[in-house]
Amino acid sequence: MNEIPMFAVLFLFPVISSLPVALAWIYRPGEDWARKLPYLSVFGLFVSLLISLNILFNFEEGFYSYPWIEDFNINFVFVVDYLSKYMGALTAFIAFLIGVYGLEYMRDDYRLGWYWFFFNTFTASMLLVVYSDNLFTLLIGWEGLGIASWGLIGHWFRDDDDIAFVGTQGRKVGPLEMSWSPSTGGWRAISTIRFGDMPMFFAIAAIYALTGNLDIHSIPWEGMFEEIGYVGTVALLLLFLMGPFTKSAQLPFSEWLMTAMTGPTTVSALLHSATMVAAGTYLFMRLTWYIEPWELNIPGLETIYLLVLFLGLISALYGASVALGLRERKVLLAASTMSSLGLMFASSAASFWVGEAALIVAFWYLIVHAFAKASLFLVAGHLIHATHDRFCSGNLAFARKMKVAFAVTILATISLAGIPPFTAYWIKSGMDGVMEHLVADGMLLPFYLLVIVSLIYSAFLAKFLSLNFLKGEAPHHEHTEGGQLMKLAYTLMVSMQIVLLAIILLHYEEHASHFVEEGFLTTSLTVGILVTASYLIVLFKPAVPAFSRIGVFLTDRMYLPFLNDYILPQIGWVVIRVVDACNRGVDFFFHTAIPSAFEALSRAIRSIQKGYLRVYMKIVAGSIMLFLVIFSLMGW
């Protein structure tokens, strides 16, 4: 039972260590001593990192549980397995590095308490999601992710600084202004996520009702699926996957991720590229890992996995295309993140046909992507600091002043694009192999989609590099001094690519060696060469004026914002107006019409009281006679 306290510290310490700064900021915001408290928060992250490394190296694989609500068979159950131990260490490591970066990046911020509290809460929640085997425990982490994401996106709640916006202020398309403030970004994020979380919540409750069990590893999946039949399986999993889909910003729920870039760059780096958005795919992987759909023969599962496969690929294509058109540094990276998440979904879904290997590929892609994208975001943050501009700008002269950033960007982009022989190339080769396997099963489309996505992906990475360091406009504003902590953080982050490369090439990890074999296959090499070509072309020609029309279409994200900001709200407001009208009607009926009726009746009753005895006696005598007559007639 030594492990349970360890887990408790892992989850609780980051939160507790951020409480001082949170409280200080509620009651004494901005004082000098309060600005030192973030070091404590980062220390909390450091402790988590140590524990997660301990778990990685020293814990036995297996399940660790602690009673919670035993009468209902709901317990804290933590899992240490292939997925969780790496994912946990990755999360803690990236969180810590970005924490360090944040110490400098956020130094002069006006709301440090909020920032650090949610940053650390996020880390704890993410770790909880990663290590949870029990779905309810996982749900707590999941909700934590949502709320932390909301809090951090809307961190600059004042909406007063253009640097924190997404889109161009004042630019209108139809009725919609293509510009989003941080508080809008937060609202869009939480509303989308809520829309997915609740169906997932229901699905979990349904699983609980059907099996009386909430531990992923011991739920009798096969029996359950058979019990509820095809329709039940599809409905249940579809509802369940609403959570991962919204969290990982798959179509059509991608918009929130784009406007999530209104948050500080550290947040974008940690939440909206490396970890949180990956939680959706991670959860899908974890489920698949234990459902083992390739072992089962459930028709409902096939439908769902097919759906996920194509949804992932289409989202990947959409994300990559949009990224190609975008010029905002962070939003470009966000779109690319969405694209990568699509690939992860697609690859994990392919496991239905390919088996566990596809899952491993997806997972490794997640790892590589996390480090690379986090590095790019951190660089983007530094660039925004340095140029005071959200849009890509920078030329060689600028690159000379930002040598470290430049180098890191190069390394990160080539590692991520899939250019041989850099890290992602080997993983992508694995992915090519997976999709080829599907071709053998008669599905051609996934493979071609993957290749197209890879090409576009590589293109916009090159565009990012080129427009920021080589061929972009000269920045209007340069502030290139300092930033030592930031440089340190992203250098360390990108250096992980080398470590990963070493692990792959030197066969430190059994599954990784498989990638190397795949990397030397013809298909993979061909794709690799194409990707390299695409990278180089765009590097030298980052913008093509002839395509500006398409560019605008892509920059406006294919007008998907209309769904979130116009169509759905309009429907909502119609309902709201109807409801409001009903309320007025009911209010009038009960509080005006009925009282008036009573008043009128009351006046009528009082109108008898004329004060004349003559009248009264007539009434009395009349009534008495009337009653007597009635009863005489009635009775006999």
């Binding site: 008043e599 004060g611 009395v620």
Partner: protein, 414 residues
């Protein structure tokens, strides 16, 4: 022993009235003693009733003491006489005595209603007396028809007698549609005499009528009960709705009386089921007690502004029927009796009426209440409020006591 005490009581109050011409205080003391004597004449199981009546009666006497009128001194004796009659009616099963008490509570109030501090209110008096005389006549005719038909087994006569009895009662206490005098008299006459008419004078007619109806109950009764239910509903609605837009407090209380009499009358339907008749009797009696205490409190407040807000709210809430005040328990017993008799709809209408009454009682409480209430008049209000609050301890004792005296709700020889 009973007779002796009663005689002593009558003698004492007569002497008191006579000597009060010399000094009004003699009348006061004599009346109080007379009332106490009358109450002590009761059998032990009726003491609870006597004690409660004594409180109401003494409150009436005190309010008279605090104001002035033309027959200062004799007025106390009138109240003592009402107490005497009420005490008599509860223990008597003799038809003649019952009718006698009915007349006895009616006639003295003819004088009472005209009194005030300055001028004699003749017009009010005429209106009131006309109704009362009419009421007495119809009531007595009804009584005799009932008793006669009962012994002769004549259903037609029974029904006519029953209807006349109820109508007579209605005229006497103010039940719609025969309530016309109530709002006028209550608003025009002096508040203190009205408070007496609205409180202690209400017991005798109800008890007499109830005793007669129980005594003469036969299979035909259940077919005619609907008539009572109808009058009760009419009265509740007329009273409560009429009060909603009335402005003068006296008039509002007049309508409130109409409504309250409707509540009490509705309990008469319980005659169809003798098993739980004690619930109905307890309901009627407690309803009358609650009504009396509340009315005395409110009329005192009208007479002499300065009754504290807490008191006026207590009265109002009791009238509305809020637990744990007395008004709640009385309605509870009545509603229980109704439910048991199968008159669900009447029960529902009754409780809905208590909701309709909320606005005007609250308005009354607000308009009549002033400050915390420290003056002398607040003594009356305080006693009335304590009386109403007595049921904070759930009044099972009341129910038990009434069970003990159900046996007296008969008429000898019928």
């Amino acid at each position: 022993m009973t007779e002796i005490l009663l005689m002593a009581s009558v003698v004492l109050l007569t002497l008191g009235a006579a000597f009060s011409l010399k000094d009004a205080r003699i009348g006061f003391v004599a009346s109080v003693i007379s009332a106490v004597l009358a109450v002590t004449s009761l059998e032990p199981e009726m003491y609870f009733f006597g004690a409660l009546i004594l409180v109401i009666g003494l409150l009436n006497i005190i309010t008279l003491y605090l104001s002035d009128n033309q027959i200062k001194g004799i007025d106390y004796a009138i109240v003592a006489m009402l107490i005497f009659a009420t005490v008599l009616v509860i223990q008597s099963t003799n038809l003649a005595v019952l009718i006698g008490t009915f007349v006895l509570v009616s006639v003295p109030t003819y004088v009472l209603v005209m009194l005030s501090e300055n001028d004699v209110k003749l017009e009010v008096g005429i209106k009131y007396i006309t109704f009362m005389v009419f009421a007495t006549v119809i009531f007595i005719i009804g009584t005799f028809l009932l008793v006669y038909s009962h012994s002769n087994m004549n259903p037609t006569l029974y029904v006519i007698g029953y209807v006349l009895l109820i109508l007579g009662l209605g005229l006497e206490v103010g039940i719609a549609p025969l309530h016309e005098w109530v709002p006028d008299v209550f608003s025009a006459a002096d508040p203190i005499p009205v408070s007496i008419i609205a409180s202690i004078a209400k017991f005798v007619p109800f008890i007499v009528a109830f005793k007669l109806i129980i005594a003469t109950a036969n299979p035909v009764t259940s077919s005619i009960t609907m008539f009572v239910a109808f009058l009760a509903v009419l009265s509740m609605f007329a009273g409560n709705i009429g009060a909603l837009t009335s402005r003068e407090p006296g008039r509002v209380l007049g309508y409130s009386t109409v409504a309250n009499m409707g509540y009490a009358l509705s309990a008469f339907v319980a005659v169809v089921n003798f098993d739980l008749i004690y619930l109905a009797i307890a309901g009627v009696l407690m309803q009358l007690f609650a009504n009396s205490a509340g009315k005395i409190g409110f009329f005192t407040a009208i007479k002499d502004r300065g009754v504290g807000t807490p008191f006026t709210y207590t009265f109002a809430l009791s009238f509305i029927g809020m637990p744990p005040l007395m008004g709640f328990w009385s309605k509870l017993f009545i509603v229980l009796a109704l439910v048991y008799s199968g008159y669900m709809w009447l029960a529902v209408l009754l409780v809905i009426n208590s909701a309709i009454s909320v606005p005007y009682y609250i308005r009354l409480a607000k308009e009549l209440g002033e400050g915390w209430g420290y003056g002398v008049v607040n003594l009356v209000a305080l006693i009335a409020a304590i009386f109403i609050l007595m049921t904070v301890y759930p009044p099972d004792w009341f129910l038990q006591s009434v069970k003990g005296i159900v046996g007296t709700f008969v008429v000898a020889g019928v």
